[in-house]
């Protein structure tokens, strides 16, 4: 299958049309959950209850929710700094609280954010540098794109075991300039490894706009240089993301190798929460307004209304879109969303800070 046939297959039913009404409503709710996680954590930070940096995924939630929704439990993922909700949304559909799902619980994620012992990594590394082997979630370092070769290795091992998993990696568009991005994609292409690399193209890498990062109109065309499919998704439309990622995942699962899915989106705030003030200066106001216009929650709501999955009344219940952290209240979100995160935070606050001596542990596995 060539790049073009994947992205432009005619007369082919887009995968999202096979989703049930319940699925679509769940997706809608997950968008709220992702958004709520972000605005709530900013509030917690402002109150001084949290250390570390939040790299806001505000306005980019459709990428995370839409890309995760169609995966199998046995698939692997590698979220990075801007994908915090990805850690608890893996394998979460209809069973957020299920202890047996292969993903991280909100309790674990909050324990990580609050730096507590119940984080799977016992808070030894910060925020998004988390993961869990048993949850099929790859841990990242800070070094951008450094997780892609790891993803390729995970896929290789899965194949050795006779598995059928796909590994989905997440990366900002700026990170793709790293050498290891190239080495890993090339390697995956040569060995036809089932690695789907999602590029969250939010138009900025910290203070650098895309035209200083790469020299293409559509970043997805970088895939052409490796002879692999490069798809473009509307990153504000959760169903388009779902469609393109499912195309890519099916392509990989069928043994055809890796692909790149560019999700076009926009970073709503600063690079991290520490950067909000400076970002307001280095980014042209008009561009920012433009970029924030198409809120993924609003776009999803409109579709659900259109498809008759939401009544007008239901659709008007929770209006979180277009609001910053300070402007939102809990009433802007479905109660189960608020409750879920509350549970996580309460759990985290009750979890002990790891004892100092753990700093000296686990440098090496004890040799038995």
């Amino acid at each position: 299958m060539s790049a073009t046939t994947v992205s432009a297959k005619e007369g082919h039913k887009p995968p999202h049309q096979l989703l049930s009404k319940e699925d679509c409503l769940e997706i809608f709710k997950q968008l709220f959950l992702a958004r709520y996680f972000d605005v709530r954590l900013i509030k917690e930070k402002k109150r001084g209850r949290l250390k570390g940096t939040l790299y806001s995924s505000h306005n980019q939630e459709a990428v995370i929710v839409g890309s995760l929704y169609g995966l199998e439990s046995t698939d692997w993922i590698s979220p990075i700094h801007r994908d915090m909700p990805g850690f608890f949304l893996k394998d979460a559909k209809f069973r957020w609280r299920d202890e047996n799902r292969i993903g991280m619980s909100i309790k674990e994620v909050c324990s990580q954010v609050w730096g507590r012992s119940d984080s799977p990594g016992r808070a030894r590394d910060n925020w998004s540098h988390i993961g869990r082997r048993s949850a099929n979630i790859i841990h990242s370092t800070s070094m951008l794109a450094g997780t892609i070769p790891v993803a390729a290795g995970v896929a290789y091992a899965d194949r050795m075991k006779g598995g059928n998993a796909v590994v989905v990696t997440y990366n900002g568009e700026g990170s793709t300039a790293q050498g290891v991005f190239h080495e890993a994609i090339n390697y995956a292409a040569v060995h036809k490894l089932p690695v789907v690399t999602i590029i969250e193209n939010n138009q900025w890498a910290y203070g650098t706009p895309t035209h200083l990062e790469y020299s293409l109109e559509d970043f997805a065309r970088r895939a052409d240089g490796y002879g692999i499919p490069g798809l473009v998704a509307d990153g504000q439309d959760v169903f388009d993301v779902y469609d393109k990622v499912m195309e890519a995942v099916s392509f990989s699962r069928a043994g055809n190798g890796p692909s790149i899915v560019e999700c076009k989106t926009f970073r709503a705030y600063g690079h991290g929460d520490h950067d909000d003030d400076r970002a307001a200066k280095y980014r042209p106001t008009q561009g920012v307004e433009e970029g924030r216009k198409r809120d993924p929650i609003a776009i999803c709501r409109a579709k659900l209304l259109d498809w008759g999955y939401l009544s007008k009344e239901e659709a008007g219940l929770y209006m979180a879109e277009g609001k910053g952290s300070a402007q939102t209240t809990n009433e802007d979100f479905p109660p189960e969303v608020v409750e879920y995160l509350n549970e996580g935070i309460e759990f985290a606050l009750a979890s002990p800070v790891p004892p100092a001596e753990e700093g000296g542990k686990w440098v090496f596995k004890e040799i038995s």
């Binding site: 250390k51 570390g52 730096g115 808070a123 030894r124 590394d125 910060n126 540098h129 370092t141 800070s142 070094m143 951008l144 700026g174 990170s175 300039a177 790293q178 050498g179 290891v180 890498a205 910290y206 203070g207 650098t208 706009p209 200083l212 990062e213 790469y214 400076r278 280095y282 800070v353 790891p354 004892p355 100092a356 001596e357 753990e358 700093g359 000296g360 440098v363």
Partner: protein, 339 residues
């Protein structure tokens, strides 16, 4: 030699570490039209910590260049620019990311002068925020100077005061040799160490240590933010009648062996403090050199106080546990003093 640190007299008009670095860069850019600054987000944003803020406006997008997130290309292209007559300052957003441009540094930049029998100079400074005690975790806390100390051809500099920051950065830029320049990010905005900067075209010579506190009973050798920890420890020891000398190396390569040796001849006791992992760290290098050069003068074992051989963990109690504390430094001082 730089002014003595006077933590209490610092005023708002005084210059902090960031101001000092920016002054150095501005002056050198004005002085040399073939000098540029490149790195991630150094232009439009002015750098993650603001070291280069305003410089792109002053010198243009061609001389203050926002680079793709490509440490190897940042260093490698600087090598080409140097080959073709330019002077380049490369910013690593955090010095930790230098690992991604490692090969270009140790095998290309560091060796170019050597390989060409001196035909080609490499006036390149690779600088960036460094160090722990900041909750930065594994990848925003490193002091990785030992990698480069073991890679011949690189100067290594780590200032601890604003005036040194300015004078050493200017000296490194003009030296014509490739330099790794460690900036302690915890000191960037520290108003306690802000100071008046010397007037004029002020350079601090590479390879000259500074005695930050004189003492006769033992010698602390250190650099970077541990200078302040050692000064605190010396204060504590003074309360117990032990006078510790504190030497701030400022430059690791070239190393000012003479100043250390002179001090040991007077104090006969050595404690070396740094925050890098112990094994093959620079503290061990100082100990190894002095165990040889100053063997006859040492009345107690030369001792290291360093990070444990672990990464730097995130949460505070763990981070504190693995990094040297003032208490650790005091205890090491007591150990050698009472030996």
């Amino acid at each position: 030699m730089s002014a003595t640190v006077t933590p209490d007299t610092a005023k708002a008009t005084k210059k902090n570490f960031l101001n000092a670095l920016k002054e150095a860069l501005t002056e050198e850019m004005e002085r040399n039209p073939m000098m540029i600054i490149q790195g991630e987000d150094v232009g439009l944003l002015g750098g993650a910590f603001g070291v280069t803020e305003g410089l792109q406006e002053q010198f243009g997008t061609h001389r203050v260049v926002d680079m793709p997130i490509s440490e190897a290309a940042i260093i490698g292209s600087a090598v080409g620019m140097a080959l073709n007559g330019m002077t380049v300052v490369c910013e690593m957003q955090f010095i930790d990311f230098i690992s991604c441009g490692f090969d270009q540094i140790v095998n290309n930049m560091a060796t170019y002068h050597y390989r060409t029998a001196g035909e080609v100079n490499m006036p390149i400074v690779v600088r960036g925020p460094a160090g722990g005690y900041s909750g930065g975790a594994l990848y925003h806390s490193q002091m990785n100077e030992a990698w480069f100390a073991n890679s011949p051809g690189l100067q290594i500099v780590c200032p601890s005061t604003p005036s040194d920051a300015k004078g050493l950065l200017k000296a490194a830029i003009r030296s014509g040799n490739p330099t790794i320049f460690y900036e302690v990010k915890n000191l960037y905005r520290d108003s306690k160490i802000a100071e008046d900067l010397p007037e004029g075209d002020y350079l601090v010579p590479l390879g000259k240590a500074a005695i930050r506190r004189p003492g006769k009973d033992l010698t602390y050798v250190t650099y970077g933010q541990n200078v302040y920890h050692c000064l605190q420890a010396a204060e504590t020891l003074a309360g117990q009648g032990i006078e510790a000398e504190v030497i701030d190396l400022r430059t690791l390569v070239p190393l000012d062996e003479a100043t250390i040796l002179e001090s040991i001849k007077r104090t006969n006791r050595l404690v070396v403090v740094n925050e890098a992992p112990m094994t093959c760290g620079f503290a061990g290098e100082v100990v190894a050199r002095m165990s040889d050069l100053a063997f006859e003068y040492l009345d107690a074992p030369p001792v290291r106080v360093t990070r444990l051989d672990t990464p730097v963990p995130w949460v505070e109690p763990l981070e504190r546990y693995v990094l040297p504390s003032v208490d650790d430094i005091v205890n090491a001082g007591l150990r050698v003093a009472k030996f």
